[in-house]
């Protein structure tokens, strides 16, 4: 089975006045059909820009400078703007972080959903409205027919995010990119939304890229996890493996900074220092200044190592007895 998405050596740079900002730097990964992939990293690690690059929505001065994005075998980077527009919302959909901001405040939910249907399919308004209503029902919005004529401010944050998810589902896309869709919500709402998305992805056989900084969320949801640091993927593998036996020191650093993962009574150990400025990234391993295991060799670029279904970029990976 060909993967839904194959990203090869993607680099997205921002040409700023102070220099070139390498937001995404030589990133490669694949997303299989029906697979849920978690993309994890700190703020500014390039995970959201990776998502926007796939959809061709990087705003100037940003630009995808090199690489390939194969979607069902076709390179999206060679597509015309019109062809890309036909794919966006139809074959690849996206859900954003802040549900308070993603819906247009002056247009009714019906308008915003119907236009999405009609942007891709030649159907009547009545039929488009019926599809919108069904989609709202699908994501668990009570009395969808009446709610269609409401405006975004009449919904709570969690309900708005459900509306956004309903919009993403309108065309049953092959791939949904979810950019921290639960971060802005209450914890109880968060778990509901997580559950719904997981159910719907399975029901419609959609692949999902879940961008998050929350390891707990990704652990509960994803099949595979990719850890991003300073524009690069530093470790990737099956969720269970990566979270229990991390190879890259950055991954293990992240894990010991998560409250739930650390045994009660033990202090959390934050990773010392700050992520390097994307304008002046050190050569070699970008994490070496914050890494306890770093040696002189880390000043050179670590190659991607692949071992037992696990990929990582490190000269001094953690060794686990089982490995």
């Amino acid at each position: 089975m060909t993967p839904v998405l194959e990203v090869k050596n993607l680099s997205t740079h921002f040409m700023t006045r102070r220099g070139i900002l390498k937001a995404v730097d030589d990133v490669s990964f694949t997303v299989g059909q029906r697979e849920i992939v978690g993309l994890v990293g700190e703020s500014g690690s390039g995970k959201s820009i990776t998502g926007f690059s796939i959809l061709g929505l990087v705003d100037p001065p940003g630009r995808v400078v090199s690489g390939q994005i194969l979607f069902n075998g076709e390179d999206l980077l060679t597509k015309s703007p019109t062809a890309m527009r036909a794919i966006r919302g139809k074959r690849i959909a996206m859900i954003f972080q802040d549900p308070m901001m993603t819906l247009n405040p002056v247009l009714s939910v019906a308008t915003q959903m119907i236009e999405t249907v009609q942007a891709h399919d030649r159907v009547s308004r009545t039929e488009a409205r019926a599809r919108a209503r069904d989609a709202l029902g699908l994501v668990g919005i009570p009395s969808p027919e009446e709610r269609l004529d409401s405006y975004p401010h009449q919904f709570s944050g969690g309900m708005r995010q459900r509306v956004a998810i309903a919009i993403a589902l309108l065309h049953r896309p092959d791939l949904i990119i979810a950019d921290e869709p639960t971060t802005a919500l209450d914890v109880t709402i968060q778990s509901q939304i997580l559950f719904e998305i997981k159910r719907l992805a399975a029901e419609f056989g959609m692949a999902l890229i879940w961008i998050s900084h929350d390891l707990g969320v990704v652990a509960a949801l994803a099949d595979r996890i990719m850890v991003m640091y300073a524009g690069r993927i530093v470790e990737a593998g099956q969720v269970d493996g990566v979270l229990t036996e991390p190879r890259h020191p950055y991954t293990s650093g992240l894990l010991s900074a998560v409250p739930a993962a650390v045994p009660r009574g033990e202090p959390l150990r934050p990773i010392p220092g700050f992520a390097p400025s994307p304008l002046s990234r050190p050569s070699g391993c970008a994490f070496r200044d914050r890494c306890a295991r770093a040696t002189d060799v880390c000043a050179t670029e670590p190659m991607l190592e692949i071992a037992a279904g696990r990929e990582f970029r490190c000269f001094h990976p953690h060794l686990w007895s089982a490995a």
Partner: protein
């Protein structure tokens, strides 16, 4: 909504009362109309007779209450100078001013919104720079100078357009206006441009700022992610959001255009209420000045009311806020 309208109405009446008092006292303080109206060589008896016939011999409070009592009966007094009902004088001249102002407003909107969109969607390009520089000129050149230059260029040098008066008027659906004859239209062009240049710049800048503020918002990006065409994003998603500040400012400006068309009307000898006001102030023709201000205040109140209604049509958050 009903509560809103009633409250608005009561507020309006209060505003009208306060305006009447202030204007009445203000004009009284400026000077004695009798000095202007009666020829210096009139005898003392003639003088006293005129003063008494105009009611100017009574104390100010009594004059005011006479005026207020009559006003409640729909009589805003007779002009000292023309000896005709002041309200009739104003309504005779109001259509000319309305015609000028509305043409100016349409001009400002029809040109301003597209130019503002163009410049907001392509910021920091040559097009944007040209439009922005142009709007700075529109802002900073004084209206009277602009008017004189327009006359200089288009009437004197090029001889294309007439520079004074309203021209021939046509009648359509019972409304007499210069808009309905070619001659009237040619007379209207220069004063309308003169009146609208400032507003045009304002509309351009408001629209541009609105576009620049709205385009980076998440819902625009989300609309793109849905595969919506760029045209629909600009004209539906972004434009509907820009309309909110635009309507507010235009409403306020329409009032000020009506009230302060004085300069334009003076330059182009446009027979509107602005010119009537200036003449009346010069002659201390109090009934006309008071009536003029009450009419203008009423227009302001009416326009503001229309703006509030439009506002709630455009912005659903306002609509429901009022009903709940």
């Amino acid at each position: 909504m009903t509560v809103f309208v009633i409250r608005r109405f009561l507020q309006s009446i209060a505003v009208l009362c306060v305006t009447a008092v202030i204007v009445f006292i203000g004009i009284y303080a400026i000077g004695d109309p009798a000095e202007m109206l009666i020829s210096p060589d009139a005898s003392q008896a003639e003088r006293a007779q005129v003063v008494a016939s105009l009611g100017l011999d009574k104390p100010l409070w009594e004059q005011f209450f006479t005026f207020a009592w009559n006003a409640l009966h729909g009589d805003l007094g007779r002009s000292f100078v023309f000896n005709r009902p002041s309200i009739a004088l104003i309504f005779e001249r109001l259509p000319a001013t309305l015609e000028l102002t509305l043409t100016g407003l349409v001009f400002a909107l029809v040109l301003g919104i597209p130019l503002g969109l163009l410049s907001g969607l392509k910021p920091n390009t040559a097009t944007d720079e040209v439009i922005m520089t142009g709007s700075i000129l529109g802002f900073s050149l004084p209206s009277f100078w602009q008017g004189m230059m327009l006359i200089m260029i288009f009437s004197v040098w090029l001889g294309w357009l007439p520079s004074t008066g309203r021209g021939q008027m046509g009648e359509f659906l019972g409304i007499r206006s210069s808009l309905f004859t070619l001659d009237g239209l040619t007379h209207l062009i220069l004063p309308a441009i003169n009146l609208s240049l400032f507003k045009l710049s304002l509309v351009i800048r408001l629209t541009r700022t609105g576009v620049r503020e709205t385009m980076p918002l998440d819902f625009v990006k989300f609309a793109r992610a849905k595969g919506i065409s760029e045209r629909r994003i600009v004209f539906v998603h972004v434009f509907k959001n820009i309309l909110i500040p635009l309507i507010t400012v235009i409403g306020l400006e329409l009032g000020s255009m009506l009230a302060f068309a004085v300069v334009t009307e003076t330059i182009f000898a446009w027979p509107g209420i602005g010119k009537l006001l200036i003449d009346s102030i010069m002659r201390l023709d109090r009934p006309v000045v008071v009536a003029y201000l009450l009419v203008i205040v009423s227009l302001f109140i009416f326009i503001n009311f229309v703006v509030d209604v439009l506002y709630s049509l455009v912005d659903p958050r306002v609509r429901l806020g009022g009903a709940q």
